[in-house]
Point group: C2
Chain length 572, copies 2
């Protein structure tokens, strides 16, 4: 490509409404332009990246045996009514009527359509397993689209769906997809982690998210320093460490007027929050329908945070997690901010203690009297509990649940998700095939998504500096830039540039020859902000000396090197 | 690809609701399935073809210097209001509101969006010409979608838009696109014609349609037997042939009671319709605003058909072409069905005669009296006219307007269209750049479309037989099929098939190995209906003899040939 025939729509200024770096740099590098809230046009610089990402995704999906299909963007509402999601999905599902007044939606996902296809096309267990994917435009009517293509309304997904005779077959395909995703993100040149994700009612290893690690990520990922273990912080198990020591202190009551928070109390008493427990009173599950829900008391170490998803997994705790009302607390004779575990079981409450809190001794707790706390509290001697349970978020330094190393926590951007759907959709839509015994059975499904447009943004969130984007080579809009100096005055540099361009292009490199009538500073700045991995400057001096001025995008300085060295630098 | 891992969704029966052959065969070959009226899911067999078509289109657009972009499917209504098309486009434009009650449309085309992009990104004449294309999903809410993907609601277009400083530059890019389109359709392996199309007010060579010739086409294309000349029948000029002979007969009145049509009169009188003229009375243009429109009389040879688009180009004829009312005809003292040219000019009418009618002599015409015709009518002696004009559709055998050969007429399917837009959109949206003189000027635009999904259907309309589709090699889902006989019993044929598969795949062929546990008849039928160009059967006998059983999709019989001959057969 000759730069004079390309659209360099670079911007010197950072646009006002771009909050995150990828959004800023995609605008500044001339990759995208906003058409309307959450709608972006991809300019030539952006499409080149997008197409490279999509090509890698397609190749690896094909290699893994998934078959490409293409389903419509517009979908009949009737299918969504069948699955129950027409109402359930909420206002993010864009609904509209066609000219005949029939109801349609703009597809945010395609489970309904593919299940409808499968129930019509798949007749026998012999056709299983089957795995279909597409790369298609999706629409989600976000209430507040932001972060550019990271959370846009229209976006491109690779979504795949598999169909199986049983769980074992699903697991096999799921594992294949896991491998394919690892290959895809590795080939894309991204630092990523497959992390165990919450599967709701399914449990087990039924869901993994693929996160690109980047400080701007919206999710916290816990991963081991020594093993492959990685999990969304909502899922990472906080294992029990150590044993409870024997009491050494007597229980004492101290006045703590108006000191309600752990921070307040610890500062007031001069103690470490890690040596205190905090109480959370939540709604329990009524023993029988029609009865009032009881209050359940949760106790965590003062420095730990409740993980609501974990709490919701306890059978005695109501879902969604709801805190007890002021009335309920008063009815129990307790005062919010001063609740301790002492005497609660005796009052008939269920008391659930987090693992870390359960091994404390001589700790600080509320005194169950207004403006009073207790020190030297010890489990069993002073306070009973119903059960020990994993209730908290892990923190850095916690042991890894697989026993190898300790946990680190980093932020991640979810770019992929694989999920064992089970029979949720196949049951709702009646997707059955004939078994070996000639009887119909409901198929088991998996689904596998990659946010293609989001991958582009996340690659930037992970790879940039003050000068702009730094592309991984596999998805750079161009791999190599050649800049002839004084091209419009020196036919010599232009000729040498053309010759090198022809040679590298023939060798399979994706090269841009910057033949624009612009100052070198403008060209260098454009090539840096757009993140081209290799830059080769051709000047008179170098031609005399038989050298090329080379600079890798991450290099601080350029170097003058021979042709041979140059080819080694850019070799893939 | 191994057939056992592919989805052969072939159907033995022709689906009821498929009217045209491409729709029938796309369903029967398992390429598409209907999701809802005008909405189709592309199955793996179809996507392979679609992707090959799109790849060829992209390559040639890139080669021609067009830059790929990607614009959203959803577009803000405000842009369509700016261009005036929000109302104008009619109910085919699907309009909807998002969750914030803002108006949007599903894009049937992208002139507004690209012009909005250009007015923001293009600042100077130095950036011109610019040419952008995309391959994107479009939506047109057809009142009656039909013919499968030929006239569906959701479809894929390659649409390109170019921007220019002047008409000369537009013509240059237009010519380049014309060449690129010829390359594309040639590479796709289609028998096509670029035909001059009506450009409305623009005129000249400002628009070409690209038609795939097929008997099921909706358009009539006239093209020369001896040259490249081709035009939509609405556009093809009917040139003047011959000269008017001197009168040899006297004008005679004959009674023709109730004989109103040319066919009736000719049969009644025993004359050739080609020796008669027929009258068409239409609305003219009022001399001054507020006055009644006069009636204009058109005369054509009895065997010719009026071309309304040509008639509308005459400055004295009202647009759109409207026939005179019964009252107007009576006011002139005429009787419909018995109008002749005699005395009309004298009554103050404008009389316009088609070229072919103008060289008749001794012809039959209405007598301007009820139930009477005149024979032996001659121009000038018996009847005056205001002007000779090209008013009729060409017919087979007419001379080609370029003077080379005669015209043939075939049916065509429009798969591409290139169009000089001029300043229609750039003016409406204020798309201006700075000129050399530092002053802003409105850019000139062109647009260039290819119906990617439609190309697939039209390729079938042109290439099929009673056994199914016959793909051009460039877009076949697979180029070669290898069928081992008794594969599940004979490891020998399977091994040989695997070896050949590996060899051909390595050589760059797109091969399917039919390893399914099915009878040969089922496999052969599937491979025929899906149109795979080359079939190689591997049996025990052939292995003993060192030959392969080869059959090209168009061949009547298979032949047993050596490996060398086989490779020559499939060589591209």
């Amino acid at each position: 490509m000759r730069a004079s025939r390309f659209l360099f729509a670079t911007l010197r200024e950072t646009p006002n409404d771009a909050e995150v770096i990828s959004h800023q740099l995609m605008l500044r590098a001339g990759m995208i332009r906003k058409l309307a809230s959450g709608l972006y046009t991809w300019l030539p610089m952006g499409v080149r990246v997008l197409n490279k990402v999509a090509a890698i995704v397609r190749e690896e999906m094909n290699n893994a045996g998934s078959l490409e299909v293409l389903m419509p963007v517009t979908q009949p509402a009737s299918l969504w009514e069948e699955s129950g999601r027409y109402i359930q999905y909420g206002p993010e599902l864009l609904r509209f009527k066609d000219r005949h007044n029939n109801d349609f939606v703009l597809g945010p996902t395609h489970e309904e359509v593919i299940t409808d296809l499968a129930r019509n096309e798949l007749k026998s267990y012999k056709q299983l397993p089957a795995n279909f994917y597409q790369v298609q435009t999706k629409f989600r009517d976000e209430i507040r689209p932001r972060f550019g293509v990271m959370r846009s309304r229209e976006f491109i997904m690779k979504d795949a769906y598999s169909f199986h005779a049983d769980q074992e077959s699903l697991q096999e395909t799921y594992d294949k997809m896991y491998e394919a995703y690892c290959k895809i993100f590795t080939r894309l040149g991204l630092d990523f982690r497959p992390v165990q994700a919450d599967t709701g009612s399914i449990g087990g290893s039924g869901s993994h998210e693929f996160h690109v690690l980047a400080s701007s990520g919206e999710d916290d990922i816990a991963f081991s320093t020594e093993s492959d273990y990685a999990a969304n912080i909502e899922m990472a198990e906080a294992v029990l460490v150590g044993e409870r020591a024997a009491p050494t202190q007597e229980l004492k009551l101290v006045d703590t007027p108006n000191q309600k928070t752990i921070a307040d109390v610890s500062a007031f008493l001069g103690t470490d929050p890690a040596h205190s427990v905090k109480a959370l009173l939540v709604q329990g599950v009524a023993a029988e329908e029609g009865q009032d829900a009881p209050v359940v008391a949760l106790f965590l170490r003062g420095d730990h945070e409740l993980n609501e998803i974990k709490a919701e997994k306890h059978p005695l705790i109501a879902v969604p997690l709801t805190f007890a009302t002021e009335e309920q607390i008063q009815a129990l004779g307790l005062t919010a901010g001063f609740v301790g575990p002492q005497g609660l079981v005796e009052k008939g409450l269920t008391v659930i203690v987090d693992r870390a809190a359960s091994v404390l001794s001589d700790f600080v707790a509320g005194a169950n009297e207004a403006d009073q706390h207790a020190t030297g509290v010890n489990w069993e001697r002073d306070a009973q509990f119903t059960e020990v349970f994993d209730l908290r978020n892990v923190v850095e330094g916690d042991p890894s649940p697989d026993g190898k190393g300790t946990l680190q926590i980093k932020r991640g951007i979810e770019v992929g998700h694989i999920f064992q759907l089970g029979q949720k959709y196949s049951e709702a839509l009646g997707c059955k095939v004939l078994g070996k015994d000639g009887k119909p059975f409901t198929v088991t499904m998996g689904c596998y998504g990659i946010g293609v447009t989001r991958v582009v943004a996340s690659a930037i969130e992970q790879n940039f500096d003050e000068k702009g984007i730094i592309w991984p080579e596999a998805i750079a809009p161009f791999e190599v830039a050649i800049v002839p100096m004084n091209a419009h005055k020196s036919p010599r540099t232009m000729e040498a540039a053309e010759a090198l361009y022809a040679e590298l292009t023939a060798a399979g490199y994706d090269v841009i020859l910057d033949d624009r009538d612009e100052r070198p500073g403008v060209k260098f700045s454009d090539l840096e902000i757009t993140g081209i991995p290799h830059r080769i400057v051709i000047g008179e001096k170098g031609l005399d000396a038989g050298t090329f001025e080379y600079k890798g995008r991450r290099d601080a300085e350029s170097v003058n090197i021979s042709k041979e060295e140059l080819l080694a630098k850019i070799a893939k």
